[in-house]
């Protein structure tokens, strides 16, 4: 191979997402006739999840497939573009923003100073919410002890009246099981279900109302710039395809898991009404403005995003 690269994923090796991403690396190898060979490594194998950006810039890793929220501490703009809670009702809305609505250019403007090139966006889709108490709407969030990761998610839950608890992912299971926390922002339904989260917290909300992360496929900018045009194009198009592949297959898995859990009988899957979803969205969008004030880049994300949403009639 002309190019042998190491990409680190923010997913664990046994998860469906990781396996589908791994198929992408094989496809790239075939499409480039073996000129590009990517080894996809699971989360934490070279550096921790929040450290991949620095590692790519230093040339330790060549690229990553990771949730953009992890870099919120570097610039609030990452937090806003990674998970503008309430903006997306469907992954396709986000893909259109990234590919045609100015999102891609914005991502590159944010990433390039850090030595990265943004190839494209993917997402696992709308995450399902894990809860051990019945939740039918925003009012039920009051006082809810919810585990949320870094990024905007925590702030939005706090604004909605919940009490975010800041525990690491490795303690989510035991804390939910023993009712130290009532609910958790985990991931998509099928993965939550496989880990047994819905067996201990029997009131999941599906589809989720709270989060749909922007997962970036990015690589070292110098290495990208040195690539011939055809290889750049293959990478770009293959990531665009991966985004569809991933969403479609994870949605199928979600539906299978939902059907299986419904058959169990003791798991109560709730779906929020459009009215309640709109209420949550309104609360979330007030937080966008707050984040926008924290840096010039964040302001630009806010403006580009709201302009796109208005043009598409998704925001009045």
């Amino acid at each position: 191979a002309d190019y042998e690269w190491k990409f680190q994923s923010s997913d664990n090796s046994g998860t469906p997402t990781f396996e589908i991403d791994q198929e992408w690396t094989k496809r790239v190898e075939e499409m480039t006739n073996g000129r590009i060979k990517i080894e996809l490594l699971p989360v934490g194998s070279i550096v921790e999840h929040a450290e991949t950006q620095d590692a790519i810039a230093a040339g330790i890793l060549d690229g990553h497939i990771t949730d953009v929220s992890y870099f919120s501490g570097k610039d609030p703009a990452f937090s806003l573009i990674a998970n503008p809670i309430g903006a997306w009702a469907d992954p396709q809305q986000m893909f259109r923003f990234i590919n045609y609505g100015g999102g891609k250019e914005l991502m590159n403007k944010l990433e390039e100073p850090y030595g990265l090139h943004f190839i494209g966006a993917i997402t696992p889709g709308l995450e399902a919410f894990v809860s051990s108490v019945p939740l039918n709407g925003v009012a039920d969030l009051k006082g809810l002890k919810v585990r949320a990761p870094e990024g905007m998610v925590q702030e939005v839950f706090a604004a909605a009246g919940a009490a975010p608890v800041n525990i690491p992912q490795s303690e989510v299971y035991t804390s939910l099981d023993k009712k130290v926390i009532d609910a958790a922002d985990a991931t998509v339904y099928a993965t939550n279900s496989a880990m047994g989260l819905n067996d201990i917290a029997k009131h999941p909300v599906y589809p989720g109302f709270h989060s749909m992360p922007l997962v970036e496929v990015s690589m070292n900018k110098e290495k990208w710039d040195a690539l011939p045009k055809d290889l750049q194009e293959i990478l770009t198009v293959s990531v665009r395809d991966l985004s569809q592949d991933l969403v479609a297959r994870l949605q199928m898995k979600d539906r299978e898991a939902v059907a299986k859990d419904q058959a169990k009988g003791d798991i109560q899957i709730t779906n929020w009404s459009d009215e309640e979803r709109a209420k949550f969205r309104a609360i979330a969008m007030k937080q966008w403005q707050k984040v926008a004030e924290r840096s010039d880049n964040a302001k630009e994300v806010y403006e580009t995003l709201t302009k796109y949403l208005k043009a598409q009639g998704l925001l009045k």
Binding site: D54, A57, A58, S69, Y70, F71, S72, G73, K74, D75, S79, P113, Y114, G143, K145, E150, G151, Q154, E155, A158, A163, P164, V165, N166, I167
Partner: protein, 209 residues
């Protein structure tokens, strides 16, 4: 054994429960003279980070009470605890280096005579200084990313949580400071081992571990 009122005064040495505590309570007994004034300074600073562990404990208890009794979890307790313990862990590496407390395998070290042991002490200290020197450079690379924006201005990396404290940047800067301090400490150790007369080194620097 002032702190162990119930301990048996006739217990054989090395087996009484007070023994270990006694060794470590008396700071001067543990601190080897080769660490120099620098080592004594590090040893004094230890108190701050030791108290940090107690504060971590207090923060967690406060968090449990707020969450369980008042249904109002804090946004700062877990991050503060992790930060204080992280600072403590990093400092503790220097602390143990100054006290010559790091765990070693002393099979060969104990077999050889005082001359060879002196040379081993010098060489080991120099190699350690060289590697911590490299880590200082590595930590500087990390600090450049954490403390400065790509445009060059000072911008401390934050945790990205709702509270959003600049703990990542502070911890990374602190790591740089400790790596430099470790290099200095190992160089001082190497110099002092070098100055020692070979026949004295065996009795003055017994292998603690």
């Amino acid at each position: 054994m002032t702190n162990t009122p119930h301990s048996d005064p006739h217990a054989p040495l090395g087996t009484s429960e007070g023994d270990v505590a006694e060794l470590i309570d008396d700071n001067r007994a543990v601190l080897p003279p080769e660490s120099g004034v620098f080592g004594r300074g590090v040893n004094h600073l230890g108190t701050i980070f030791a108290i940090g562990f107690l504060c971590s404990m207090a923060a967690l208890i406060f968090e449990i009470c707020m969450r369980h009794i008042f249904d109002a979890p804090t946004i700062w307790a877990h991050e503060t605890t992790t930060f204080l313990c992280g600072m403590g862990f990093v400092f503790a590496g220097l602390f143990c280096a100054s006290r010559n407390q790091h765990i070693r395998v002393v099979i060969i070290y104990d077999m050889v005579g005082p001359k060879a042991r002196r040379i081993l002490n010098i060489v080991i200290s120099l190699i350690c200084a060289l590697s911590t020197g490299f880590f200082s450079f590595a930590a500087w690379l990390m600090v450049k990313k954490a403390a400065f924006a790509p445009t060059g201005g000072i911008r401390l990396e934050t945790s990205g949580s709702a509270w959003n404290p600049p703990f990542p940047a502070i911890l990374k800067i602190f790591m740089l400071v400790i790596m430099v301090a470790l290099t200095v400490q190992f160089l001082i150790l190497a110099y002092n081992y070098f100055r020692q007369k070979p026949d004295l080194s065996a009795s003055e620097a017994p292998a603690r571990r």
